[in-house]
Amino acid sequence: MIRDIVKNKSLYLLALPGFSFLVVFAYVPMTGHLIAFKDYRVSEGIWGSPWAGLEKFRLLFESDKWIQVTLNTLYLNLLFIVFSLIVALTLAVFLNEIRWAVWKRLAQSIVFLPYFVSWMVVSFIVFALLNTSDGLVNRTLARIGADTVSWYSSPQYWPLILTAIYVWKFAGYKSIIYLAAITGISGEYYESARIDGANRLQQIWHITLPLLRPTVIILTLLSIGRIFYGDFGMIYGIVGDNGVLFPTTDVIDTYTYRMLRHLGDFGMSSAIALYQSVMGLIVILIFNGIVRKVDNDSRLF
């Protein structure tokens, strides 16, 4: 190791800033996980605070809250993954079938646009659409004589609403990746299929979709690997501290945040975060293992 550093000292020097940032902002915070085993006192710091054993975990797993936030996290992420995959694939395949280049490029640009705005802006738009008194949706419902819904106090609709928002924001973005993969498919496949009399639907079904499989697997794996991580920016941006919606929208990340910032409970917050990190790691190892068996070329590592 040292010999390598001496030999390539200018290369290691180039890497030094980046590596320092990695250590400081990714590895140093990991010591925070220790707090889960401590009776943390700010004045005494991580090392000075007395050990508390597994007390925090006992408290965490005693209440039902952890089950609720875990299930919400998994359920919402599953909805996001499945529906964004379906819509993005459909968009990509359909965009590829469009022969009028101007319209194709325009449509592609427009569906990609929502990816570029922040969750704060999305949150604003969602509020404009759904707020009870003068949201666009309720105004429209009232105009056609239907009953209005007070969306922000009806948790049952939110898995659906959040999924719709997720698909709106990311389907276009993901479709671009799929579209690029479709572009990489050799035209010869389609040509010989046409000679055999295959119509466009058959070509999509027998050529495009099977050849997209590796890309689909990689992207889905990346998402599944993060299935224990809720999108804090999205959920907290849109739902915020609206407790009425927590039964269906509170995910591990928002729970950790509230524990830390609103209750100042460092120990509990760490316990949940460590539980999340460990589960996340286990999930990705399992799925990568499965993929290694099924389709070795698509594995992540």
Binding site: V24, L91, M120, A273
Partner: protein, 309 residues
């Protein structure tokens, strides 16, 4: 050849072949166009409503809500927001964070990724793994918070909005994929001339890698421009609120008008909804304006990141 051009070529090649005109084919054809048009409309209409709303008089907004076409054109909301102090402050913060953050992040990431990609480094796989591992195992909010707020003492400091995002492992791996495509012979010629690796990097590799550096610059710029998480955690002072937090404050604050910071003596009428809409438009405006020009770089980066990274 860019990705977009490549796609168009495929289209050209395919359309030269006879079109099927049977009924199911035609139906499918219309279904495709219908679906794409519908999704494009859904993607676009929210932006349209917000932009139109921001140019509509407050009174009309209150009575009619959001509309596809403005009934009472007005620039008052913009005049009001721009008369306040907060918008200039927040713009300053967001622009500073984005510019400084992006420059720093690109410099640090591109050099680090070059190291990860360089075949002379014997232990590059070890370092790649150390980098990759941070994507698999989260550090947790508590440690992150303590690090930045207590240990580094960056609470209410603009550095708290910049430093944490300087090295994004995912973008580093995108760069690694780019570097691998550069022929190694470029290096060798320079080594014979006696140049060291730092000189080689900045004199030879950097110019060749310009397109990829442009790509990750845009990724980083978008992250910095759109972030509000760091500000939520670490910034309490109004003078350091980025634009995204300004929107949040306007939506949740009890006294948004004091927040906007218009001089009371001006005795202006307060356009509550208009202020929010105008601020949102001022926040997404720069993105929408540069979007048509930078889109292709994003597509390139995404493609490489997803398919090779």
């Amino acid at each position: 050849m860019t990705e977009v051009e490549a796609m168009d070529n495929t289209v050209g090649r395919r359309s030269s072949i006879r079109q099927d005109t049977s009924w199911p084919e035609k139906g499918f054809h219309w279904f495709i166009h219908g679906f794409i048009a519908a999704f494009a409309l859904i993607s676009f209409i929210p932006f349209w409503l917000v932009v139109i709303g921001s140019f509509t008089a407050e009174q009309s907004l209150r009575t009619n809500g959001y509309q596809l076409f403005p009934t009472q054109f007005s620039l008052y909301a913009y005049q009001y927001v721009l008369a306040g102090k907060q918008i200039a402050t927040s713009y300053g913060v967001t622009v500073t964070v984005t510019v400084v953050g992006t420059l720093l992040a690109v410099l640090v990431t591109s050099t680090y990724a070059y190291f990860l990609a360089h075949r002379k480094v014997k232990y590059r796989n070890v370092f790649s793994f150390l980098t990759y591992f941070t994507m698999l195992f989260g550090s947790g909010l508590v440690g992150y918070y303590l690090l930045i707020a207590n240990w580094l003492g960056l609470k209410d400091s603009i550095l708290a909005l910049i430093l944490p995002y300087v090295l994004n492992p995912f973008y580093a791996f995108i760069m690694v994929a780019f570097y691998r495509n550069i022929p190694y012979e470029l290096n060798e010629a320079a080594i014979i001339d006696g140049a060291n690796d730092i000189t080689i990097f900045f004199r030879i590799i950097w110019p060749v890698a310009t397109p990829s550096i442009a790509t990750i610059s845009l990724f980083y710029a978008l992250v910095y421009w759109n972030d509000w998480w760091l500000a939520l955690l670490f910034i309490d002072k109004h003078e350091l609120h980025p634009l995204q937090i300004m929107i949040r404050q306007l939506m949740s604050s009890l006294d948004p008008d004091a927040y906007v910071g218009v001089d009371v003596s001006a005795a202006m009428q307060i356009p509550g909804m208009g202020v929010q809409l105008a601020t949102v438009c001022l926040t997404i405006g720069p993105i929408i304006f540069v979007y048509p020009f930078v889109q292709k770089y994003f597509i390139k980066g995404l493609t490489i990141g997803a398919l090779k990274g």
